[in-house]
Structures are given as structure tokens and as C-alpha cells.
């Protein structure tokens, strides 16, 4: 559904364009500015403020917010709303994200546009509810079973919580895929100044609607960029939606190897083939550097501090921040690492994205991790030390 954001009405609800706001609140603002018109969720620290803010604001725009009985139901409600035409959101943290894996797979298989915010906290299980972590990164990639692809973004500031959540809605619509905003308890609860976008910056990109007559509509026939056109429920088009392997009509074809291969290969290709288009990175280049840092999310702030400290001491270092983490920006990481001897990856986990970086470089620069779990952030000095003396290998 092509639609415009009613900017004046939205801003009347969001308040002044400049605010000192919390990351979770900024995510909610970003969602609303991204055209979100349905939220379903279940409260969980440190993501509850997203739900609270949506509950306070979205009804004032005439849109529904539902508190569901759990996280499985939350994502299910979001998927249903998306088929009814909504730009739908849920937000959770690790324990809820685990429950949502089922729905994420269903959304991948049924090509349902939806946005899921994971404000990561220390796990496994209920872990440390109030402490930040980046321990769900590979779960974001591989948590649901079967071959699939996701789009995942990692905000490093409160402003980016807003900007990337807003972007997530456009990407979900454009690719008809779940988009994950992988924030964490630190940036989620942190406050910084944010600037809300101006009226000329909030154009929405929406899913492609059927261009054929209802009788000629084939719901899962790949259209532009391998993405099928999507008919909204109730708009007069026949659609059959199932998590089972289905043919182009959407009907189950579970015993057909070719049909399964064609479908799942397309689901993977529609994301993977657009890696460069989906790549968002920030490069801090330094000529002659043999040391590098690849960072993402809140740990990128530690990395930026490390770059500042290192350069002040005459140590040459290059820094690549992954703004989009999946599809993994492999080509960008390879280009970044050309000529580097050592790449360290700071993360609030015991090594997750470092493995993907290492696989991408495939025998090139030595890739080591700088890890911290338990709730404190990685201090810039620790990253400098790892650059000079080596981080942890596995």
C-alpha cells in the first residue's frame, strides 16, 4: 500500500524535533516515523520502554497497540497485522527473542514484512535482566530453523535507534522479510540528544501491490528483485498463506523437491543477492595501518574510543563499523581488511560476529576477539591492548 506519513499529525504526538531521549523511546519514535501503525508485545526488561512508548503514542494516531500473552503471540499478531496491510512492530529481549524464533521463520517463509527490535540483555535464559549484552547476534542470523536470510541492523547511538528503526520498516516492506533491529540494554537505556527528521525526509517505501486483476494474481510469483507482489487481506485477491513449502499460488507442495528448492533458494537469494545494496558501514580510514577494528552496535563506541587513544599514541588503526550486520557485509569487510595484519572484533559476548568476520577474510588478516560479558562495557584501553598484543583467538 503506497501511503504517506501524516507528518504534522505524527509530530504533534512525538513532540519537539530535538529531545534528550532514551534509546528505547527513540526506537518507538523511529517506528512511528517509519509508518508503523500496529504494535504487539509483551513487556520485558530492557525493552519495555519501547512498548510503553508505543502504547502511549500510537493510539493517539488512531492505531492499535496490543499487549499479548507472550512473545510467540506478539509476533503472530504482528504477522497477521502485516497481512492486513499494517507496518507492524514488536520489541523484546533475549528470552522473548528465543520464543519469537518460530514466528521469524514463519515470517521468512511467508514473506511477511515485519520489524522486530531485540534490546539484548545478558543470557542465556533469563540471565541478567538489566545488563546489556550482544549475545543474540548469531541467534538473529540462525535462530530459526531451516535455510533463510534476515536483515539485521545494529544501532550504536540513540539517534541511530531512531534512524535504523525507521529504515527497518522500509526494508521490511521492500524485501517482504523480517527485519531485526539488534540494539542492547546499554543503548536502549542510554539518553542522548536526538533530532527527529524533517518533513522532506520521511518518505515511506511500501510493499509492491498487485498490478494484475484479482483473477490473474499469483501471490508468490517472484516479481521485481525476486520479491512477489503482496495483496492485502480483504482487498479482493485470493491469497493462501502457509509456513509449509508452497507453490507460486501459495498452496502446499510439501512433497515436491523442485518446488521446495525453487522457493527456499529464492527466499535466500532475494536478500543475499542484494548484499551490497543492503550494506551500511562506516569506515574510519588511516593510511598505512596494519591494525583494524570491526565493530557494531554499542561496542562501536568503545572501538571509536580505542581509535582515538591509539592514534594519540601514534598507533595506526583503521576502523569499520557495521551498521547493517545481516546480510553480512562480506565484500565491505574484505575491502576494509586489505593490507591488514590483525583485525580485532569487540563484542559483549564470548565471540560471535568475530567468527563471521574470520570466515569472510578466509585466511587473510588474523581475526581476534575482545570480549566482555556481565554488564560492563568494553573499555577503549582493552581494545588498544588487543590491537598491540593480540586479542583472544577463539
Amino acid at each position: 500500500m503506497a501511503r504517506d506519513l501524516d507528518y504534522g499529525r505524527v509530530m504533534a504526538v512525538l513532540g519537539p524535533r530535538e529531545q534528550f531521549a532514551q534509546g528505547d523511546v527513540a526506537c518507538a519514535y523511529g517506528a512511528i516515523l517509519g509508518g508503523c501503525d500496529f504494535f504487539a508485545g509483551y513487556p520485558i526488561t530492557p525493552a519495555t520502554e519501547v512498548a510503553e512508548t508505543m502504547a502511549a503514542l500510537l493510539p493517539r494516531l488512531g492505531c492499535a497497540v496490543m499487549q499479548m500473552e507472550d512473545e510467540i503471540a506478539s509476533l503472530s499478531a504482528v504477522i497477521g497485522a502485516a497481512w492486513a496491510g499494517a507496518r507492524a512492530l514488536t520489541a523484546t529481549s533475549g528470552p522473548g527473542f528465543s520464543l519469537m524464533q518460530e514466528g521469524i521463520g514463519y515470517a521468512c517463509m511467508t514473506e511477511t514484512p515485519c520489524v522486530i527490535i531485540d534490546v539484548q540483555r545478558s543470557g542465556p535464559s533469563t540471565g541478567q535482566p538489566t545488563e546489556p549484552a550482544q549475545g543474540d547476534m548469531l541467534q538473529a542470523r540462525w535462530g530459526t530453523h531451516g535455510d533463510h536470510e534476515v536483515i539485521a541492523l545494529a544501532p550504536a547511538s540513540v539517534q541511530e535507534c531512531l534512524d535504523l528503526t525507521r529504515l527497518a520498516f522500509d526494508l521490511a516492506e521492500e524485501y517482504r522479510n523480517p527485519v531485526l533491529v539488534m540494539t542492547d540494554g546499554e543503548v536502549g537505556h542510554m539518553r542522548e540528544k536526538i533530532v527527529l527528521p524533517g518533513e522532506d525526509e520521511v518518505e515511506l517505501r511500501s510493499r509492491s501491490e498487485p498490478t494484475s486483476e484479482p483473477a490473474a494474481y499469483v501471490p508468490f510469483r517472484a516479481g521485481h528483485g525476486s520479491v512477489p507482489e503482496m495483496a492485502r487481506f480483504g482487498s479482493g485477491f485470493h491469497t493462501y498463506v502457509t509456513g509449509l513449502t508452497h507453490d507460486e499460488r501459495g498452496l502446499p507442495a510439501t512433497d515436491n523437491a523442485d518446488e521446495h528448492s525453487r522457493l527456499v533458494t529464492r527466499l535466500v537469494a532475494k536478500i543475499r543477492d542484494h548484499e551490497e545494496l543492503l550494506t551500511r558501514v562506516e569506515l574510519d580510514e588511516q593510511e598505512g595501518a596494519s591494525l583494524g577494528i570491526v565493530s557494531y552496535g554499542i561496542s562501536a563506541r568503545s572501538a571509536a574510543g580505542a581509535v582515538r587513544l591509539a592514534r594519540a599514541e601514534g598507533i595506526k588503526v583503521r576502523h569499520l563499523r557495521l551498521v547493517s550486520v545481516f546480510p553480512f557485509p562480506e565484500a565491505a569487510v574484505r575491502r576494509f581488511a586489505e593490507g591488514l595484519e590483525r583485525v580485532v572484533v569487540p563484542e559483549l559476548n564470548l565471540g560471535q560476529i568475530c567468527h563471521v568476520v574470520r570466515e569472510s577474510l578466509d585466511g587473510g588478516a588474523r581475526v581476534e576477539r575482545v570480549s566482555r560479558i556481565g554488564g560492563e562495557m568494553i573499555r577503549p584501553e582493552e581494545i588498544v591492548k588487543a590491537l598491540l598484543e593480540g586479542g583472544e583467538r577463539v
Binding site: F20, P129, T130, M190, R191, E192, I298, M377
Partner: protein, 178 residues
């Protein structure tokens, strides 16, 4: 210019709100600011910590590394962070809540009781710390306080933030040296 402030106490004292208001007021005064927080799962009673970094330049690492000001409103907070302060930095404790030697003490809780209610000790402390920092005009701080408290408590909070400022100014001019 870069100042790092760490406020520690226990849940329910309004430690986090004090940090939020300080950060917001600093932004309103034209600085960059980041406020972070750390607390346990309890809504009251567990250890709580609120940190504010204020700078003229963009802030990368958001947490305090070399505290210029440490405020402790609990003995546990003081015991853990009271010595972790930059050279030339200031450690301030609430004299009715914390026993400490060789640091600045201030009667935040007592002053809060004097202006009306013990619950505004955090706002007294905020007025004190802001006066010490000399970055934020008092009127702007007061305005930011009033934008962040429940309606109906404006007068109490206004008195509290002024009491905090006056406590600092009084100490500096030697009336209530610790």
C-alpha cells in the same frame, strides 16, 4: 571541555532521574551529553548508578572512565566508587547516609527535609553538583527539573534545586566547610 559525573546510591533515591536532568540540562545549555545507568532488577533497594558525560565534542565511549565528580548517596556506593576519581576530582557524600574520611560531605537529605520532603534529596544534590560544575545556568537547570517531575511538585522541587545550589555556594565561601 569534558566532565564525567558518577552518581551512586540505591534504587528509589532518584539517582537516575538526577542524571537524566543533568544530561538534558547540559544539552539544553549547548553541550553534548550522554546519560547511562545501571541498576538491579529491584525497583527499590538495589544498587543504582547513573553516569553523565558532558563534553564540547562528540562523545564516543559513553560511560565514565575518569570521574571528575563522584556523588555517593549510599555507603555501598561510596565503598565501591569513592576512590575511583580523577586527579583533581571531587567526591561528595551525603553526610547523613555515608561515613567517609577526607571527602566533601554535604547535608542533602537534611536540606531536603528542610525544604519539605526527604524525597527531593536527589534534586538538592543535583542543584549542588550543577553549581559545582559551573556549566549550566541555574535558570536552565531549574527549568529542566520542572520539565521532568510530576505536576503538583513544582514548588517543592524548585526549592530543592535552589537549596542544593545554595549549599554549594555556602560551602565554597566557607560557611559550611566539610
Amino acid at each position: 571541555m569534558k566532565k564525567e559525573i558518577r552518581i551512586c546510591g540505591f534504587g528509589g533515591q532518584g539517582i537516575i532521574l538526577a542524571g537524566v536532568v543533568l544530561g538534558e540540562a547540559a544539552v539544553r545549555a549547548g553541550y553534548r551529553a550522554v546519560q547511562t545507568q545501571s541498576y538491579g532488577p529491584e525497583s527499590r533497594g538495589g544498587a543504582a548508578r547513573s553516569e553523565v558525560v558532558i563534553s564540547s565534542d562528540p562523545i564516543d565511549y559513553p560511560r565514565v572512565t575518569h570521574a571528575d565528580v563522584v556523588v555517593a548517596l549510599s555507603q555501598a556506593g561510596y565503598d565501591r566508587y569513592g576512590r575511583d576519581v580523577a586527579d583533581g576530582g571531587t567526591v561528595i557524600v551525603d553526610r547523613s547516609l555515608v561515613e567517609a574520611e577526607g571527602v566533601t560531605t554535604a547535608p542533602f537529605t537534611t536540606a531536603a527535609e528542610e525544604v519539605g520532603r526527604k524525597i527531593v534529596a536527589n534534586i538538592v544534590m543535583l542543584g549542588y553538583v550543577s553549581a559545582l560544575l559551573e556549566l549550566i545556568p541555574h535558570d536552565l537547570l531549574e527549568e529542566t527539573v520542572l520539565a521532568n517531575i510530576p505536576s503538583g511538585t513544582e514548588e517543592l522541587n524548585r526549592r530543592a534545586v535552589r537549596a542544593g545550589r545554595d549549599l554549594f555556594l555556602g560551602q565554597r565561601s566557607g560557611h559550611d566547610g566539610a
